[in-house]
C-alpha cells in the first residue's frame, strides 16, 4: 500500500525489525549480565568456602593448642604412673620379692589372671589384670605400706578385701592379720589386634 505522506512509523517492516532488534538486544544483554553474575557468584562461593576452610583450620589449631595445654601434663603424669604401658608381669614378680622383704609381711601369695579388655573407647582399650592376694600381716600399717609400694608399678584398684584379726593375743613375728584381696591392675593402650593378646593368656601365680 503506497500512502502519500507515510512516515517512518508507517513503514511495513520497520516495527518488526525494531522489535526483533530489541528482543535480540534484550536477550543478549540479559544473558550476558546473568552469566556475569553467575560467574561472580561462583567466585564468591569459592572464596567463601576457602575462608570457611581457613576459619575451620584456625579453630582446629586453637582447639588443638588448648587441648594440648590442658591434657599434656595429665598425660605425662599418668605416663609416670604407668597408665600407658602394658602390665609387666616380670616387673610384678621382681617387685613383689622386694616389697615382701621391705614391708616385712609374715606371708604373701598372689595370683595374676590373664589380661582382659574391659572397655573400648575410640582407638583405645582399657585392659586389666585381676590379682588375688592372700596376705599374713603383722599389723595394719603393712597393708598400707604394701598398697603404697604397688603404686610404683602402676594403677591398681582394691576392688575387694577381707581383713580379719587373728584369734588370741598378738605375737611378735607372727601374722596377726589375715587379708584376702582382689585387685585390678589397669592400663590403657591403643586398640590391639587379636594377635597382640599373646600374653593375655598367661597366668602368673606364686605361693
Amino acid at each position: 500500500m503506497t500512502v502519500p505522506g507515510a512516515s517512518w512509523f508507517e513503514m511495513k517492516h520497520l516495527p518488526w525489525l525494531v522489535f526483533a532488534s530489541a528482543f535480540v538486544f534484550a536477550t543478549v544483554t540479559v544473558l550476558l549480565f546473568h552469566h556475569q553474575l553467575s560467574d561472580r557468584q561462583a567466585q564468591r562461593d569459592r572464596l567463601a568456602r576457602e575462608v570457611a576452610s581457613l576459619e575451620q583450620e584456625r579453630i582446629r589449631i586453637e582447639e588443638a593448642v588448648h587441648l594440648h595445654e590442658r591434657f599434656a601434663p595429665v598425660y605425662e603424669q599418668a605416663r609416670r604412673q604407668g597408665w600407658w604401658q602394658p602390665q609387666d608381669r616380670l616387673a610384678w614378680v621382681e617387685a613383689m620379692e622386694t616389697v615382701f622383704r621391705k614391708v616385712g609381711m609374715a606371708g604373701f601369695n598372689y595370683t595374676l589372671s590373664p589380661t582382659r579388655q574391659l572397655l573400648q573407647a575410640g582407638d583405645f582399650g582399657l585392659r586389666s589384670v585381676g590379682i588375688d592376694l592372700e596376705m599374713a600381716l603383722l599389723h595394719g600399717a603393712q597393708l598400707l605400706s604394701f598398697a603404697h609400694a604397688l603404686e610404683n608399678l602402676g594403677p591398681f584398684s582394691w576392688e575387694r578385701c577381707d581383713i580379719e584379726r587373728g584369734q588370741g593375743r598378738p605375737e611378735p613375728g607372727k601374722g596377726n592379720l589375715q587379708g584376702v584381696c582382689r585387685l585390678e591392675w589397669f592400663s590403657i593402650l591403643p586398640q590391639e589386634t587379636p594377635e597382640d593378646d599373646w600374653d593375655a593368656a598367661d597366668m602368673v601365680s606364686s605361693n
Binding site: V18, R44, I61, A64, L67, L118, F124, S157, E159
Partner: protein, 509 residues
C-alpha cells in the same frame, strides 16, 4: 451538528457538509486522489455515497433455503457472480408468488474497485473513519417519496463536464437493476435514447419484459433540466413518462438550501445525513479499521521493543548492582582470607605426644580420669574407720571387708562399666565390752559410731546391721540360765557402710 458525506462518482467527488437543512459542498474533486489532505477536510468521520459506473446489479432467483445452507448457497453465488470482489452487497427482495417460490435476491458489487479502494485507503491515512458506503441508486430506492411500483426511474444530473443518466428499474416497488451512463450534455438527445434502449433490451432478457408492453418511466430531474428531459421522452415511444421535480422531493425532505442549484447527489447526501441513525451501509469498508489495527500493531511493536529494552536495561542494572555487591563481598572475603592465612602461618599445631594428636590425647586422658575416679585404695577407707574409732576408744575393730556392690539382676552393661560404676560397700566387725556399761549402752555407742560415720560426706549410709546382742525386734532371742555373764562379757557388732558413688575418692590419687 454537522455531518459529512463524501460523494464518490466516476470522474467527480464532492465533500458535503450536511446540516441546518442543507448539504453544502465544501470540496470538489475531479477524479484523482489528492496527494495531501485538503484544508477543507475537517471531518473525522464521514459517510460515503458511491455513484459508479462499475457498480453492477444482478437480480437472481435462488431456491428458498435457511441457515447454513442458505449462507453457503449465497456465498457460492456471490463468488460465481463477482469472484473475489471486496465490495459486495446482498439484499433479499422477497419471494416469488407462485411456482417454487424462490427467493428474489439482489447481488450488487463495485467491480474493478481499484480507484475506489484507493480513496478508502487515503481516507484511512488521513485518519478519517468511514461510517459506511452507501450506493446512490439504492439510497434513492429507499425513499418513500413518489414510489414506483414497476418501471424505470431515470435520474439526470451533472457529473463533471458530462451528464449522468442513472437508470433504475423497479419491480414491486423494489430496485432490481441500475445502470449509470455518462453522456455529453449536447448529445443527450441522441445518446440518451440509445442508452435507454440498451437498458431496455438488456432488461427484456434479464427480467423477461414484454417487448410490446409500455414501460413506466419516472423522470427525476431538476427544473433547470426539465426541457432536456422532455426532449428525450419524445425519442422514447415505448416509455410512458412521468416527471418528478427534484425541488418537490427536496421540500418534502425539509431541504432549506438553495433549490436552484439542487442536484441528485446533494439531495442524496442530505437524505442520508439527516437520518438519526445511519443504519446499515450497503457496502462495508474495513480499511480504516485495518489501518487502525495496523497502527495499533505497530505501536504495540514499538512499545514492546521499548519495553523489552527497558526491562532488559532494568534487569541488567539489577544484575550489575548485585554484581557490584558481590564484588565488594569478594573483596571483603579476600581480605578476610589474607588475614586468616597470615594468622595461620603464625600458628603452629602442637607437637604430637607419643604419636597422639590432641583429640586422641583428650579421649585417652578422659578415659584415664574416668577409671582413676573409680579406683579404690585401702588407705582412705581405713583412715575413715580409724578416725571414727579414735572417738570411741572402747570399740575394737576385729575385721573389715569391702567390696564393690554386685550388679543388679539383668544388668547388661559391659564388664568395665559394672566394675567402675558400682559403689563400694564396707563391713566392719567391732567388738566392745558390755559388762560395765550394760547391753543398752553398748548398742547405743555402736549406733553413735555408725552415725558418726554416716556424717562423712562420701558415706551414703552407715548402720548397725548385726550383733551378738539381740537388739533387733525381728530376731529370735534364745538363752540358757547361768550363762548371762559369758554372753555379756563382750559383744560383737556388724556395721555396714555404703559409699555414695564409685570410688568416692577412695583412691590414692
Amino acid at each position: 451538528m454537522y455531518r459529512w458525506v463524501l460523494y464518490l462518482a466516476t470522474g467527480r467527488q464532492v465533500l458535503y457538509q450536511v446540516g441546518k437543512g442543507r448539504a453544502s459542498p465544501v470540496w470538489h474533486g475531479e477524479g484523482t486522489v489528492p496527494q495531501e489532505r485538503p484544508e477543507a477536510w475537517q471531518a473525522k468521520r464521514l459517510a460515503v455515497i458511491v455513484d459508479l459506473m462499475e457498480e453492477e446489479y444482478r437480480f437472481e432467483h435462488l431456491p428458498h433455503l435457511t441457515g447454513a445452507d442458505r449462507r453457503s448457497l449465497w456465498s457460492r453465488k456471490q463468488r460465481q457472480l463477482f469472484r473475489g470482489e471486496p465490495y459486495v452487497s446482498v439484499k433479499v427482495l422477497g419471494r416469488e408468488k407462485a411456482g417454487r417460490r424462490d427467493d428474489l435476491v439482489l447481488f450488487t458489487a463495485i467491480r474493478e474497485a481499484g480507484p475506489f479502494r484507493q480513496w478508502m485507503e487515503t481516507l484511512a491515512q488521513w485518519q478519517i473513519a468511514v461510517s459506511g458506503v452507501w450506493s446512490l441508486p439504492q439510497l434513492c430506492a429507499e425513499w418513500k417519496i413518489q414510489p414506483l411500483s414497476e418501471g424505470m426511474r431515470l435520474m439526470i444530473y451533472p457529473c463533471g463536464n458530462k451528464l449522468a443518466l442513472r437508470q433504475c428499474f423497479h419491480r414491486n416497488k423494489r430496485l432490481v437493476f441500475s445502470r449509470l451512463s455518462l453522456i455529453a450534455e449536447d448529445s443527450v438527445q441522441v445518446e440518451g435514447p440509445q442508452e435507454l434502449e440498451r437498458t431496455w433490451r438488456y432488461l427484456m432478457r434479464l427480467l423477461g419484459l414484454d417487448p410490446v408492453e409500455t414501460i413506466a418511466l419516472q423522470l427525476w430531474v431538476s427544473t433547470g433540466r426539465l426541457e432536456v428531459a422532455r426532449g428525450l421522452s419524445r425519442e422514447l415511444p415505448n416509455f410512458s413518462m412521468e416527471s418528478v421535480q427534484l425541488e418537490d422531493v427536496a421540500t418534502e425532505f425539509g431541504w432549506k438550501g438553495d433549490l436552484q442549484s439542487l442536484e441528485i447527489p446533494a439531495l442524496t447526501a442530505f437524505s442520508l445525513a439527516r437520518r438519526k441513525w445511519l443504519g446499515g451501509p450497503h457496502y462495508r469498508d474495513t480499511t480504516f479499521e485495518s489501518l487502525k489495527q495496523s497502527r495499533w500493531l505497530k505501536t504495540g511493536l514499538y512499545l514492546g521493543a521499548a519495553g523489552l529494552v527497558g526491562i532488559s536495561v532494568g534487569y541488567d542494572s539489577l544484575m550489575e548492582h548485585h554484581a557490584i555487591q558481590l564484588q565488594q563481598e569478594m573483596r571483603r572475603l579476600q581480605q578476610q582470607k589474607q588475614g586468616l592465612s597470615a594468622r595461620l602461618t603464625a600458628m603452629h599445631m602442637p607437637e604430637r605426644i607419643a604419636d597422639l594428636d590432641p583429640w586422641q590425647l583428650q579421649s585417652l586422658v578422659e578415659l584415664k580420669q574416668q577409671v582413676d575416679a573409680s579406683r579404690v585404695q585401702p588407705a582412705p577407707l581405713l583412715d575413715l574407720l580409724s578416725s571414727a574409732l579414735e572417738r570411741f576408744p572402747a570399740l575394737e575393730l576385729e575385721a573389715v571387708q569391702w567390696r564393690r556392690l554386685p550388679p543388679e539382676e539383668g544388668d547388661e552393661s559391659s564388664e568395665a562399666s559394672i566394675v567402675l560404676s558400682k559403689p563400694i560397700e564396707m563391713i566392719a566387725r567391732i567388738k566392745t565390752p558390755v559388762s560395765k556399761v550394760g547391753l543398752r549402752a553398748a548398742v547405743a555407742k555402736v549406733e553413735r559410731f555408725a552415725a558418726l560415720l554416716a556424717e562423712h560426706k562420701q558415706v551414703s549410709r552407715a548402720r548397725l546391721v548385726g550383733s551378738t546382742i539381740p537388739f533387733r525386734e525381728d530376731e529370735p532371742v534364745r538363752g540358757e540360765m547361768g550363762t548371762l555373764e559369758n554372753v555379756t562379757d563382750s559383744a560383737t557388732f556388724t556395721v555396714e557402710i555404703q559409699f555414695s558413688s564409685p570410688g568416692d575418692g577412695m583412691t590414692g590419687q
